[in-house]
């Protein structure tokens, strides 16, 4: 018999302010809430990964940054730490391929079963439908995971994480343009009732987030909420992207652009 895979589901995470690589204190404590997207920006080596791994490892003042992670405002109990270690965070990385040798539907059913979903087959069909909404080119139930294109794999990973993953926190490392509708993907993930943190260099994604954290020298330097001016910039950029996609789609089927 397998144990039920039920995890505590905090509505809010707080990282207490730590210090940067020179020992100077961080700006303030950072709260992450369900239904809110936080974008993480900063050059390579600035400390984005450190911040993410502080969340993942349930830092208790014992990591190089000195931060402590609180669940719903209090330190996790020993039992919660034990249960959540390595499972607090689901990750969507830049990985674009599956390696398991299984058909799409069988795999999704296996995943739904591992979560003790009441009707695994129905859950699997829902994920497949959501993935096909995101993917530029639809794929079938019996397609092998390893035969999916990069875009299709990515769409399936996103839909699966949104609808089936157990982890209460979702960490996204960039959503590529290739073959996936980014805006729709974010909307789907937002509905998943997870705390979402997204490392990105893409201006549309960064501006889609409710707020942006800018990391520098190992600590968060700026916390920026999206302004009205930025919201209109986002609209303009999103319009440009839509135009790009429209022209791309037209060119692919032999259309003429006027």
């Amino acid at each position: 018999m397998s144990l039920p895979d039920v995890l505590p589901a905090p509505r809010e995470l707080t990282l207490t302010g730590g210090h940067d690589k020179s020992g100077a204190p961080e700006c303030a404590a950072l709260a992450f809430r369900v239904g809110e997207i936080t974008a993480l920006l900063g050059p390579t080596g600035s400390g984005k990964s450190r911040l993410l791994s502080d969340i993942e490892s349930l830092a208790a003042g014992d990591t190089p940054s000195g931060r402590t992670l609180l669940l719903d405002g209090r330190p996790p109990t020993d039992d919660e730490r034990f249960e959540l270690q390595g499972r607090l965070v689901a990750q969507i990385t830049q990985n674009m391929n599956f390696v398991l040798d299984m058909g799409v539907l069988d795999f999704l059913i296996a995943h739904a079963e591992s979560r003790n979903a009441p009707e695994p087959a129905a859950a699997a069909v829902r994920v497949l439908a959501a993935a096909n909404e995101l993917a530029g080119e639809p794929f079938a139930e019996r397609t092998q995971l390893t035969q999916l294109s990069g875009g299709q794999s990515r769409a399936l990973m996103i839909a699966d994480t949104a609808l089936l993953s157990t982890s209460p926190v979702l960490l996204i490392d960039e959503i590529e343009n290739a073959g996936v509708d980014k805006t729709q993907a974010l909307a789907l993930l937002l509905k998943s009732e997870k705390i979402i943190v997204m490392a990105t260099h893409d201006p549309v994604l960064a501006l889609s987030a409710h707020r942006r954290l800018v990391v520098e020298n190992g600590a968060v330097r700026h916390v920026l909420a999206r302004t009205e001016a930025e919201t209109s910039t986002l609209k303009r950029l999103a319009g440009m992207e839509a135009e790009f996609s429209r022209i791309r789609a037209a060119l692919r089927v032999g259309g003429e652009i006027r």
């Binding site: 270690q85 398991l100 995943h111 591992s114 794999s153 990973m157 699966d160 089936l164």
Partner: protein, 251 residues
């Protein structure tokens, strides 16, 4: 001295994971030592030495590596104690997936990687089933969904083990692992009269004694003949080696 056995299929990352964990132990002031059992060749001493961990490599050569391991446990333990180690890790080859080197009452770890295929947890057998802690490596190379399904398959094979995702390349997760190692049960002064968790495969046929010719007339001793017929579906062993609830072999 605390003793920990680590088993897992070849190239799954056992050495990398142990090196990282030992580094954390050493940094925290716990002297440790490693004994590596392997078959023909091992370069692992270099990795341990570079991390400042005393290591002794034992090669089984022409013998069954698991029998060789069992027959050398007392001596291995004595060597590690002689180094002044407080925690000793024994890393074993884990080749035929039939064996489990784990010892009753002492911490048992199985390392398995995310790239091995969905049925791997079932195939690996007792070294996974009887482990207290399962470390899953190479998770960075697969999707979240694959990690979760794989974890579930491991859980189905071993309902009680702690499962941890670790990264042998970056060392992520190994600090947590070192904390678990630091809590491993004390083994005392020696291993004499302790018991393995699972019986080793029986042997002693003419091929154990270096016979190389093929043919019934050269086969003597403990010889088992298979029945060859068309197979369908899943095959199970008729008389699987026995285990009790807590994973121990009945005496």
């Amino acid at each position: 001295m605390r003793l920990v056995t680590v088993a897992g299929p070849p190239s799954c990352g056992k050495t990398s994971v142990i090196v990282h964990a030992c580094r954390h132990l050493l940094a925290g002031g716990t002297p440790c030592a490693v004994i590596k059992f392997d078959c023909l060749k091992s370069r692992d001493a270099t990795a341990y030495e570079a991390a400042g961990v005393p290591v002794s490599v034992a090669l089984s050569g022409g013998l069954c590596p698991d029998h060789f391991y069992a027959t050398n446990l007392e001596e291995a333990f004595a060597w590690a104690r002689g180094t002044g180690a407080q925690t000793c890790v024994i890393e074993t080859a884990g080749l035929c997936n039939r064996c489990s080197p784990h010892i009753r009452g002492l911490l048992a770890i199985c390392v398995i990687d995310n790239l091995m295929g969905i049925d791997a947890p079932e195939k690996i057998g007792p070294m996974l089933r009887l482990a207290d802690l399962v470390c899953v490596t190479k998770g960075d190379l697969v999707s979240q969904a694959e990690r979760e399904v794989y974890r579930h398959r491991i859980r189905q094979m071993n309902a009680r083990a702690v499962i941890r995702h670790v990264n042998g390349l970056t060392g992520q997760g190994c600090q947590d692992l070192s904390r678990i190692l630091a809590l491993a049960p004390e083994a005392g002064e020696n291993l004499t009269d302790r018991k393995l968790r699972f019986a080793m495969p029986a042997a002693v046929c003419s091929y154990c004694l270096s016979e190389m010719r093929i043919g019934g007339r050269y086969q003597k001793g403990n010889v088992k003949k298979a029945v060859f017929a068309q197979s369908h579906g899943t095959q199970l062993l008729d008389n699987a080696p026995g285990e009790t609830e807590d994973g121990d072999v009945p005496s």
